[in-house]
């Protein structure tokens, strides 16, 4: 067990190092920060942003003496921001996951990995941990920005809901990256891996829309598979054990399928 763990850690460190010296990774991070920042500013302070809208409501209420219904501005803001971030993942994550195995395959190092004494699933876990860590690093500055905005809220907002929301964001990312990793292990073309991952995520996000039109247990089951539905549940502040289990299942499934696909490769080469 200790050996497996140290193997995982070794893979994890190698992966992480490769990210932090890769210009491409930083370029992606820069783009991600820019778009996320744009969403952040537009949602909060933009002309149609939440602050402007609520200020207009308040002045209207004062002018006409109509009581304004209670609005939890920071809550609405965090929810709206995390919602947009969920969509942004759709474009960023396939780029992060596309190279995980496809790059190794292209460079011919996959044989080394496949025939090494490290078990396939340990490799997969290490790689997944690496990419999830990298993504988390990408998100942390946004969290700092949010903290500045939320610190200005009156009365103060307890941090439970933002924290749960970001946990959901990381979990959603991990689930998508895990599936992306499997897709990346199937092909030696990074572009193909990215496109396929994009399509898969799109399907998993939209399965909810399809399910809404199907009644009965099939529709319910399909709707349950939807990542977006569970993500939305969590970011609005509902902690639901079944959502966590679903995200966990996607992660496990991705790792298992990756290991299977590398196993098949090992067999083919023999």
């Amino acid at each position: 067990m200790g050996v497996v763990l140290s193997n995982i850690v070794a893979i994890y460190r190698r992966e992480l190092q490769s990210y932090f010296v890769s210009p491409l990774a930083y370029a992606i991070t820069g783009i991600f920060w820019f778009i996320a920042g744009l969403f952040f500013i537009l949602i909060l302070m933009g002309p149609d942003g939440i602050l402007a809208a609520v200020a207009a409501l308040d002045t209207q209420g004062q002018q006409f003496g109509v009581p304004v219904p209670p609005i939890d501005v920071p809550y609405e803001f965090v929810r709206a921001f995390l919602d947009r971030m969920g969509w942004l993942l759709l474009f960023v994550l396939p780029i992060l996951s596309m190279g995980l195995y496809a790059e190794e395959r292209k460079r011919g190092t996959l044989e080394l990995l496949a025939t090494s004494p490290v078990t396939n699933w340990a490799v997969a876990i290490g790689k997944l941990l690496g990419v999830v860590t990298f993504f988390t690093t990408m998100v942390v500055p946004m969290l700092a920005l949010e903290a500045i905005a939320l610190s200005a809220s009156s009365p103060a907002m307890p941090p439970t809901i933002p924290l749960l929301g970001h946990l959901a964001l990381i979990l959603l990312a991990a689930a998508i990256l895990s599936l992306g990793m499997f897709i990346s292990s199937l092909t030696d073309s990074t572009i193909l891996a990215a496109v396929l991952t994009f399509a898969t995520i799109l399907l998993l996000l939209f399965v909810d829309l399809i399910a809404k039109n199907i009644s009965g247990p099939i529709g319910q089951a399909l709707g349950y598979l939807s990542l977006l539905k569970h993500y939305n549940n969590l970011i609005q502040g509902i902690f639901d054990s079944s959502s966590l289990v679903l995200f966990g299942s996607y992660i496990v499934l991705g790792i298992f399928l990756t290991a299977q696909s590398i196993d098949a490769l090992r067999f083919q080469r023999q």
Binding site: S22, T29, G30, W33, G37, M45, V73, V252, L253, A264
Partner: protein, 524 residues
């Protein structure tokens, strides 16, 4: 040659099998019904795929190969993992732990709602006639559904289901109906500003799932309004009562010596001839035992109820209410009411319109023990007054003879019953032993509830609410506190705003791009 050709053709059997199976699945899913055709397609498809597998294995000893064995192992393992994960998720969704972390429990049903839904005896279905499915509304409905599987909901595209639209009488997008058994009722209309409300939903559920029915009798025999459709009948009103869970029946007091004991309300709508003294006595007894009366008396008639009404402090004025406020649609003989009293009957009316063709004003004098509330008030003088001289073609107010507006066209009254003394048992058992008060609604017009007028403006509501209040069946709606988020604002200082804008749009992305450029330069 021919044999090879057919052998080769067998290879393509797999496509036929897959095609049939897919077609079967698709038809089943689309029709949402697993009848003969989809099942037949799926079965034949599977059989053909199986046949193909057998043929393939015979042809090339396919099963014996190692790659096949490894592949099969992988396939079995994958299927097993999928099955396990599916099972785990199934159990997780069944036994989920849900914690609402919002401060005001925004997404948790009120205990009253939970209790009510859990105790539903009969299936209740909520039908939302809308194309767009608001996630908030859906969430609420799903929350209800989690409590009890007898609660169902469905979103319906009104254009795709004209039959249902007809059945429910849907007029607009966003209408939400409740259906239980053969009872149906409109709950609310949802739109962008008005989302589905738990308060309305729970109270609607309470109403539709209650099994108790109130009985409404309509007095007949003195030229009252007919219950079945015809000239000046009130069949629409009777039908609307039926939809609201009331049973209705005509009553002729000449044949009976008392009002039936199951009567919740007795309606006397537009009698043309006077009642007999004996009938008035029966009515008085009925009221003294906790009975409830709805009177709609047109001008120009004298039902000889004055002696009874005086006890309640009500006097029917003999003059005619006129309204010259310049309404084009209605003449001066049709007073329009836009002002309503503070009373359960009229509390939701705001200043909407109801109208009363040929109505008489009602005067009230305070009587000890009787609580009177003016329900329907016309506009003030000079717009309305009570005209005494109906022969004169020139409508004008005559000081001394006419009564200045605002006129009262309807009043609601209730009177506490004296506590029955045990020592002196009454000869007849009280009709309603649990009643503590009797109620009366007097309206100086019966036209407003007749067919045609009933469906217009608020007229129907005036009638139905009056019956509902008078029947003493007005169940207290469950007092559910509306879910409101905590009131909170973000007050950014300009310095904070600048820091946020600069760092998110400029500094952070620049760091990313700069590091990328440097690394790229170094690697080169």
């Amino acid at each position: 040659m021919k044999i090879i050709a057919t052998k080769k053709l067998w290879k393509y059997l797999i496509w036929l099998g897959l095609f049939l199976a897919t077609a079967g699945l698709a038809t089943g899913l689309v029709a949402n019904e697993w009848g003969t055709i989809p099942l037949a397609l799926i079965i034949s498809g599977t059989v053909i795929i199986g046949l193909w597998l057998v043929l393939q294995s015979q042809e090339s000893n396919w099963w014996g190969r190692r790659s096949t064995q490894a592949g099969t192992n992988a396939l079995v393992a994958t299927l097993a993992v999928l099955a396990i994960l599916g099972l785990i998720n199934f159990l997780a969704s069944r036994y989920e732990v849900r914690v609402d972390l919002t401060e005001t429990q925004l997404f948790t049903l009120a205990p009253e709602s939970k209790e009510l839904v859990r105790n539903l005896k009969q299936p209740v279905k909520v039908l939302v006639f809308d194309v767009a499915q608001n996630p908030q509304d859906r969430e609420l409905l799903e929350n209800y559904q989690k409590q009890n599987s007898k609660f169902q909901f469905e979103y319906i595209d009104p254009q795709a289901r004209p039959g249902l639209v007809e059945k429910f009488g849907v007029k607009d997008y966003g209408e939400v109906y409740l259906e239980s058994g053969n009872k149906r009722q409109l709950l609310q209309v949802v739109n962008v500003n008005d989302r589905l409300s738990e308060i309305k939903l729970t109270n609607g559920l309470q109403q539709i799932s209650s099994t108790s029915t109130a009985k409404v009798y309509f007095l007949q025999g003195h030229g009252e309004r007919q219950l079945t459709s015809g000239e000046g009948a009130i069949s629409q009103a009777v039908q609307a009562l039926g939809n609201k869970n009331y049973t209705t029946a005509p009553l002729n007091l000449v044949e009976k010596s008392s009002v039936p004991s199951d009567a919740n309300v007795l309606v006397i709508a537009g009698p043309k001839r006077s009642l007999f003294d004996g009938e008035v006595k029966v009515l008085r007894d009925y009221l003294n035992q906790g009975g409830n009366l709805l009177l709609a008396i047109d001008p120009g008639t004298d039902p000889k109820l004055d002696s009874l009404l005086t006890e309640w402090g009500v006097k029917l004025d003999n003059r005619l209410a006129v309204d010259v406020s310049g309404s084009v649609a209605f003449g001066p003989a049709v007073p329009i009411v836009t002002e309503y009293g503070q009373h359960p009957i009229t509390k939701d009316f705001g200043n909407s319109i109801s109208f009363y063709r040929l109505a008489r004003p009602i005067e009230t004098t305070p009587v000890p023990g009787v609580e009177a509330t003016k329900l329907l008030l016309t506009k003030p003088y000079p717009n309305t007054w009570a005209e005494s001289d109906l022969q004169n073609e020139n409508l004008q107010f005559n000081e001394g003879k006419d009564l200045k507006g605002p006129l009262t066209l309807g009043v609601a009254l209730k009177r506490k019953l004296p506590v029955p003394s045990q020592a002196n048992p009454s000869p007849t058992p009280p009709a309603n032993p649990t009643a503590t008060e009797s109620r009366m609604v007097v309206i100086g017009d019966s036209d407003f509830a007749t067919d045609g007028s009933f469906a217009q403006q608020l007229n129907g509501d005036v009638f139905l609410n009056s019956v509902n209040w008078a029947s003493q069946q007005d169940r207290q709606p469950l007092s559910i506190r509306p879910k409101e988020p905590k009131n909170r604002r973000i007050n950014l200082t300009s310095a904070q705003a600048n820091v946020l804008a600069l760092s998110s749009l400029l500094v952070l992305p620049l760091i990313g791009f700069a590091v990328a450029a440097i690394l790229w330069w170094l690697r080169r």
